[in-house]
Amino acid sequence: MSVTAAIAIGIAMGIVFGFALEKSRVFEPGVIVGQMQMRNFIMLKVFLTAVATGAVVLAALNGFGIVKLAPKAAMYYADVVGGLILGAGIALAGACPGTTLAQIGAGYRDALFTLIGGLFGAMTYSYAEPTLSKTFLGQSSGKLIFSQLMGIPYWAGALGLAAVVALVLVGLETWRPWRDDLGKDVDGDLASASPAPSHIRTVPAE
């Protein structure tokens, strides 16, 4: 496929992606920080639903031999060290690498600083990569998927995962309905939905 065609497909898919991120409110700093403080569960719900949907879709596409899977290699040291740093960054940015762009589209100005910081972070890694890849961070255990370890076909494992996730989501929603996490201005800001603090209450004129 030509690069131009790939770019056109990317833009079209991105618009759908950005639309869904915006509608779900999962791109909101209030939702992401709220999830990391375990007070807001919209992020987990969107994330798990997308994982389960992807698993069903890939179970069909791979099960019928239409597509090959493309899992990343298991690199335990890099996965743990990188994952911890990535998580710290997500909490401080109130965004993920993808939702940063949704924040920019929605008009959050601080997301431009997240983006610039991200470009510097990516380049810092790039300059260090030739060195880092020779350390423990470069150790790979190869492409490993759970269904393989369990000795079952991928499609069966993927459908099993989707079923378990669906049950978890039913439990999560029963415990905490998603509308409760939206906030008054659908930005996950639940604090400002409570009554205003007394010191800014207006004093009646004499």
Binding site: G10, I11, M13, M36, F47, A55, A91, G105, G117, A122
Partner: protein, 171 residues
């Protein structure tokens, strides 16, 4: 429906999960976002430091391949899609989310911009070390039952929860 301010997380999650179909069928790859920062960052850096393209990792990411530039286009599309969705629903956002006043204990935009820069830096440094982010390891890796991706996602939540609990105030 397109003019609603909020969809259920389940409806939105299904739409996002279905995007794996065109990703696998047309581009032969899974959804991801963080590689695009290397593609764009590498290209920008090469103007200041032409020798950066001698690093194989950078050369691989800035090469004119469909996969590289598809992902850059994807994240640009994300900004467009969010902008359009916002406009259709008639919502508008302040320059900085009101939650940061509580989370940082300060209303200073300069402080927020500095924290956002550091957050972005750590986010991509970590994502490149782990070889993937919330999309690549999270959405795509877990859907493919990848062992490494599951470890990365668990670490990501541990790092995120620890940071949000210890360094940020209650939002």
């Amino acid at each position: 429906m397109l003019s609603q301010k909020a969809w259920s997380p389940y409806a939105a999650g299904i739409v996002i999960g279905l995007l794996q179909i065109p990703a696998f069928l047309l581009i032969e790859t899974a959804l991801g976002a963080s590689s695009s920062y290397v593609t764009v960052g590498g290209l920008l850096a090469s103007w200041l430091d032409p020798s950066v393209v001698k690093i194989d990792y950078v050369a691989k990411h800035i090469a004119a391949t469909g996969k590289n530039w598809w992902q850059v286009a994807l994240v640009v599309g994300v900004a467009i899609g969010a902008f359009v969705s916002m406009r259709i629903s008639g919502a508008s956002r302040a320059a900085i989310s009101p939650i940061w006043r509580n989370a940082l204990g300060s209303a200073s935009p300069a402080k927020r911009y500095a924290v956002a820069f550091v957050g972005g830096f750590l986010m991509l440094l970590g994502a490149r070390i782990a070889d993937g982010c919330t999309s690549g390891h999270g959405l795509s890796g877990m859907a493919q039952l990848s062992v490494g991706s599951t470890v990365a996602v668990a670490a990501m939540f541990v790092g995120g929860i620890a940071t949000a609990m210890l360094l940020l105030r209650r939002v």
